[in-house]
Symmetry: C2
Subunit: 438 residues, 2 copies
C-alpha cells in the first residue's frame, strides 16, 4: 500500500486533502497529513479511514525524515524556505516531491541528483505559479502545432474577494499572506515589451497598473510581477516581443495603494520612532510635509495633489489612517504598521467567499495573420473550500494521483510546462469546475 | 623636531599641505605627505625644505605604521573605510589623528582606549561635517550664555560651481565624488520638525526640496540628509522642535534630478540588460511606459506629466539622454549608466572655479521672544585652491597646529562641537577669508 505525505495543513490545504482522501481507495493508498498543530491535521482529515493525521515539530529533522521515508510522494505546503531541506530528504529516500512554490537556484541545483535517483521534484505546481503555466503552455503548444508563433503574452492573476463578500472600497480582503501584500512590488520589476527590456521602479509600479476589463466581472488593474523574463526560456519562446506576468486587483485598489507607496509608508527598511502612544494620524503625519494650519487630511491631499473628494483619499480615510486611535504596534517598520492597520480592515470573515481571476492575453502570428486569444479563468470559493485552496491544492493532488498511477515518467527538477502534465491536469481541473474561457 | 603626516594627496589636499608647510618653520616641524602616487605628493609639496613627499602602498601595513610612528599628528584624507585601521596604528604609537569623515560606531568604540593613551581622534573636522559643527555650536553656545534656547535649526551645505564657471542648465559640476552625487538620498531620510519625527522616502526627496534664497547668490534648493537626528545629542539640544540637516543645489537642479529618480534611472540594485550597442535613448526607453507612435522625448514628458517646454525636460535633453549615441558602459547598474552620462556633462574643467555655500537657519527663544539668526558662508575657489580644498583642509591644518602648540587638551574620539576647538578654528578661518555672515 502506498502513502502520500502532505506537509502542512494550513488554510490552503483543505481541497488537496479532501481530494487525496477521495482518491485513496482507488489508489490503494493512505494519506499522512503532518502539521505543527495536530488538531489542524485532524480537522482537515476528519475520520477518513485512509487518513493518518500527525503532529510534527518541523525542527525535529529525524521525525520529518521518517515521515518522508514512509511516503511514496511528498507534497509540501510548508513555507518556501523549508523546501530545500525537504527536497534533500526526498532525494535521500528516493521520494517524489511536489510543491506550489517558485523554484530557486538551490532547488534547481538538485536536478541531476533527482534524475539519477529517478525522482521528480515538481515545483510551481499550484495556481500562480502553476495553473498559469499549464494553461499558457497548452495554448502556445496548440498554436505551434498549427504553425502559429507567440508574439505577445500578458498574463495576470489575482487572489481576490468574491463579489458577494466584497463590502469595502478597496474591493480586497486578505486571503493570502498579508505581509506579502503589504510588501508587494518591492524589488526590481523587469519585463519585455515590443522587443525592449523594460524596468519599473517601485514608485511607478502601482501608478502604471494597466486597466483590464474581464467580462462579467468588472474592471481590474494589473501590475507587473518582479521578473517575467526567466519564463522566456522555460516556455521555450524565441520570437515573442512582449512578455509580462502580473498581479490583478479590483479597480481602484492600485490607485489607493499607490498613495501609500508614494509617501513611503510601505517601507520595510527602518523602524518607526514610537514614544509608545503614537496614533494613526501621527504615524501618517510623519510621512507628510509640514504645512502650518492644515489638518492631517488636508496635508495628505496636498502632498499627493489630490482633491478632498478623490477616490484614493476616501479609500485611505476608510482605513482609519487619519484617526486618533493609538497604533497597536509599538516597534516595527512602516510596513509593520500598515499591516496592523489593514489587518483590521481587510478581514476575510467567516462565511466570506474568495475568488481567483486569471487572464492570459496572447497574440499569435499564424500564416502572416495576427490572432488574439484571451483565456480567462474565474474560480469562486464555495461552502467547503476557498477558491485559493482549490486552485493551489488540486494541481498538486492530481499530480500525486498520476504519479501513483504511473502515468508520469518525468524526473529531475521541473515546472509544469510539458504536455505530459498540462493535458491530464487541465482535463481533471475542468471536471472540477476550474475551466478557462476563451 | 615634530612631524605631521598627511595620508592622501588627492584633489582636496592642496590647501591643507600649503598651510602646514607655511606653518612648519614656526612649529619647528616637518610635513610628510604620503600618497599611492608619489608624483602627486611631490607636486603638492613643491620644493619646500620642510616637506617630505613619499610614495606608499596602502596595503603595505608595515610601511604605513612606520610613517605613523614617525609622526606626532596624523591627518588622514584617505577613503573613510580606511580610517579605522589608521586609527588602530595611531593608538598603538600614541599619535593624534584628524579626519574630515563621519565618525562611525567602529571608530567610536576606540574612545576609551584613546583617552587612556592620551590621544585625540578628531573626526568630522572638515567642511560638512566640520565647519557646520563649529559655526552652529558657536551660535548655539553664545545664545545659551545669554539665556537663549534653540528651537529650530535648519542647516544646508552645497559644494557647487562658482557663478563665473556656471555654464549649464543644472548649474552643477562634479567637484566631489561623482558616484555619491548620483546615489545621493538613497536610504532613509529622518528629521525632526515641529516636535514630530518626519520620514522622507527617496521618491519624495528631491520633489520636496525647499527653496532657499541666499542674498547675492540667487535661489537654491535644499534636500534633507539621511539622518539628522543623531546630532540632537551631539549638539546637546533638549528643547529643539525642528532639526534638519541638508544638501544645497542651485535651482532647478532638484527638479531635473527628481525626474530621473521618479523613472528609476538612479537605481543601483540591478544590472541593465545591454546587448552591447545600447544607445542612450534606448536606455531611457527602458524606464518609460510603451506608448505606440510616440518618440522618446514625447514618452518621457508623458510619463512625468511634463509639457515639452518644461525646464526639467530641457535639462534632461541637454544631458544627451535622448540621443542615439551608444552608451560607453556595457555592464552596470542604471546608476553606473547615469554616472557615465553626467561625467561628460558635469566636467569641472581646468580653470573652473568652485563655490561652497552653507547656511544655518536658527530660531531661538530668548526672554520669551523669538529671535531668528541666519548664518551664511560663501567661499569661492581661487587660482591656487578650490573652495572645497580650503574648507575641508584648513580646519584640519589649524587643528594640527594647535595640537603641536599644546593648545588643545582634548583626548578620546571627538567631533568639533566644543569651544576649545570652534573658537580658535573659526578665528583663524576668518583670517583666511572663510567667514560667516549673519
Amino acid at each position: 500500500m502506498s502513502n502520500i505525505l502532505v506537509l502542512g495543513a494550513g488554510r490552503s490545504s483543505s481541497a488537496l486533502i479532501e481530494y487525496l482522501l477521495e482518491q485513496s481507495a482507488g489508489l490503494n493508498c493512505t494519506v499522512t497529513v503532518a502539521d505543527q498543530n495536530p488538531e489542524s491535521a485532524r480537522q482537515k482529515t476528519g475520520n477518513h479511514p485512509a487518513a493518518r493525521p500527525v503532529g510534527i515539530a518541523l525542527e525535529d529533522a529525524a521525525a520529518v525524515e521518517q515521515l518522508i521515508n514512509e511516503a511514496s510522494v511528498v507534497i509540501s505546503l510548508l513555507p518556501p524556505t523549508l523546501h530545500y531541506k525537504v527536497a534533500l530528504s526526498c532525494l535521500k529516500y528516493g521520494r517524489h516531491l511536489l510543491t506550489a512554490s517558485y523554484v530557486n537556484e538551490e532547488i534547481r541545483s538538485l536536478d541531476l541528483q533527482a534524475k539519477e535517483k529517478g525522482i521528480l521534484i515538481l515545483m510551481e505546481n499550484g495556481l500562480d505559479p502553476g495553473i498559469d503555466h499549464l494553461s499558457a503552455m497548452k495554448e502556445i503548444d496548440s498554436m505551434k502545432e498549427k504553425g502559429g508563433v507567440l508574439k505577445s503574452f500578458r498574463s495576470y492573476t489575482g487572489g481576490l474577494v468574491a463579489p458577494e463578500s466584497d463590502n469595502n472600497p478597496w474591493h480586497y480582503k486578505f486571503t493570502w499572506n498579508p505581509k506579502n501584500v503589504i510588501l508587494a512590488g518591492q524589488g526590481n520589476v523587469k519585463y519585455l515589451e515590443n522587443n525592449k527590456f523594460k524596468y519599473i521602479p517601485y514608485q511607478q509600479l502601482f501608478a502604471r497598473a494597466e486597466e483590464i476589463e474581464i467580462e462579467g466581472e468588472g474592471i481590474f488593474e494589473g501590475y507587473a510581477n518582479r521578473d517575467s523574463l526567466s519564463y522566456l526560456k522555460l516556455y521555450n519562446l524565441n520570437d515573442v516581443s512582449t512578455f509580462i506576468r502580473g498581479t490583478l486587483r479590483k479597480s481602484p485598489y492600485c490607485r489607493g495603494w499607490n498613495s501609500l507607496v508614494q509617501l513611503g509608508m510601505t517601507a520595510d527598511s527602518f523602524e518607526v520612532d514610537n514614544p509608545g502612544n503614537l496614533t494613526w494620524s501621527q504615524f501618517a503625519d510623519s510621512f507628510l510635509p509640514e504645512i502650518p494650519g492644515k489638518n492631517i487630511e488636508e496635508k495628505f491631499c496636498l502632498a499627493l495633489g489630490l482633491a478632498q473628494d478623490a477616490e484614493e483619499f476616501k479609500m485611505i480615510r476608510w482605513t482609519g489612517l487619519f484617526s486618533d486611535e493609538v497604533c497597536p504596534v509599538k516597534k516595527g517598520t512602516p510596513a509593520d504598521y500598515l499591516l496592523s492597520l489593514f489587518e483590521k480592515k481587510f478581514v476575510f470573515a467567516q462565511g466570506d467567499k474568495d475568488m481567483i481571476v486569471m487572464q492570459h492575453q496572447m497574440q499569435f502570428e499564424i500564416k502572416k495573420q495576427s490572432e488574439n486569444i484571451n483565456a480567462t479563468l474565474v474560480v469562486k470559493g464555495d461552502e467547503k473550500h476557498s477558491a485559493m485552496a482549490k486552485t493551489v491544492g488540486l494541481p498538486l493532488g492530481i499530480t500525486a494521483k498520476l504519479i501513483l498511477q504511473n502515468k508520469i515518467k518525468l524526473t529531475g527538477v521541473q515546472i509544469p510546462v510539458m504536455k505530459e502534465l498540462y493535458e491530464p491536469l487541465l482535463k481533471e481541473l475542468e471536471e472540477k469546475g476550474i475551466r478557462f474561457k476563451n
